[in-house]
């Protein structure tokens, strides 16, 4: 730790702690979404979105921490973020398609009647 002024270190540690806590909170809220929502398609939204920011915050904290601790600035975490951003939409898309294929029940409030869910009106 020679390249950094002394007053900066506590602030960076605070930032790391903040990122870790924020990431954790977002992950928990995403999981709560599974309990809260009424049908399969709604429940997909929680994990598909909140895990992105939850994991993103945690990875950023990890990057800062190792940079501070060992001077390692490889940025491997950025790659994980990139892979996550590529794979999350694909898995969400596949899950939705599977759900529609099985004609899963949806809440009555849902607008729109796609023929993928067996509606005749939209043919």
């Amino acid at each position: 730790m020679t390249f950094m002024p002394d007053w900066l270190a506590p602030w960076l540690e605070g930032l790391i702690a903040f990122l870790l806590v924020t990431g954790g909170i977002f992950a928990v809220i995403g999981a709560l979404g599974l309990l809260r929502f009424r049908d399969f398609f709604q429940r997909l939204h929680g994990p598909a979105k909140n895990s992105t920011l939850g994991v993103g915050c945690t990875l950023l904290a990890s990057m800062l921490f190792f940079w501070l601790q060992t001077g390692d600035h490889s940025g491997r975490e950025l790659l994980i973020t990139l892979f996550l951003m590529i794979t999350t939409p694909v898995s969400a898309h596949l899950l939705t398609m599977t759900g529609m294929h099985h004609r899963l029940r949806r809440t009555e409030r849902t607008q729109g009647e796609p023929y993928e869910l067996g509606s005749e009106r939209d043919r």
Binding site: F26, I29, G30, L32, G33, R36, F37, D39, F41, Q42, L44, H45, G46, A48, K49, N50, T52, L53, G56, S74, G75, R76, L78, L79, L82, M85, I86, T88, P89, V90, A92, H93, T96, M97, M100, R106, T107, R109, T110, Q111, G112, E113, P114, E116, L117
Partner: protein
């Protein structure tokens, strides 16, 4: 140029990934360069032809807008989860695509899945529409307009298609 570098985006991605996974040394950079040039040439025949990026700067702006929107998306979905009183108003929305190339459509569909309360559910390629599931939406037309203005138009300009 076209023969030597058939897929510039893929080459760039391969280079970045190799450099990220290994240490930053000149030797690794050379190896990354060789791999980034060689792999696309070897696997080119298996791929659909890729449209070229005409406006790299716009692509950068697009990525920044996307990152910002992901943060907003998280906050909005979190708020909805925590607001116990309010029942969300979900909807299936049919989005008429004006893009035709497979690759930009893939990017658009991924973008929609990553941003506020929407997941791309099914691509009806035969009639050029994209079925979207929205978590909490009143006005479906407003959603369609927003997606067109914020994501599809920039993508069209980036790929010039």
């Amino acid at each position: 140029m076209k023969r030597l570098l058939p897929m510039p985006l893929l080459s760039l991605l391969l280079f970045a990934i190799w450099m990220g996974l290994t240490a930053l040394t000149p030797g690794n950079a050379l190896l990354a360069l060789v791999l980034a040039l060689l792999i696309p040439i070897l696997i080119r025949r298996f791929w659909e032809p890729q449209p070229t990026v005409h406006r790299p700067l716009k692509l950068l702006v697009y990525v920044i807008v996307l990152l910002w929107d992901i943060i907003i998306a998280n906050l909005e979905v979190s708020r909805l989860i925590l607001a116990r009183r309010r029942e969300p108003q979900p909807a299936f929305v049919l989005y008429p695509l004006s893009l035709t190339e497979p690759f930009p459509i893939t990017i658009l569909a991924s973008t929609i899945s990553l941003t506020p309360g929407t997941i791309s559910a099914h691509l009806r390629i035969h009639d050029g529409t994209l079925l979207i599931h929205a978590l909490d939406i009143e006005d479906t037309q407003a959603l369609i307009d927003q997606i067109r203005r914020r994501y599809e138009q920039p993508l069209k300009e980036i790929f010039q298609c």
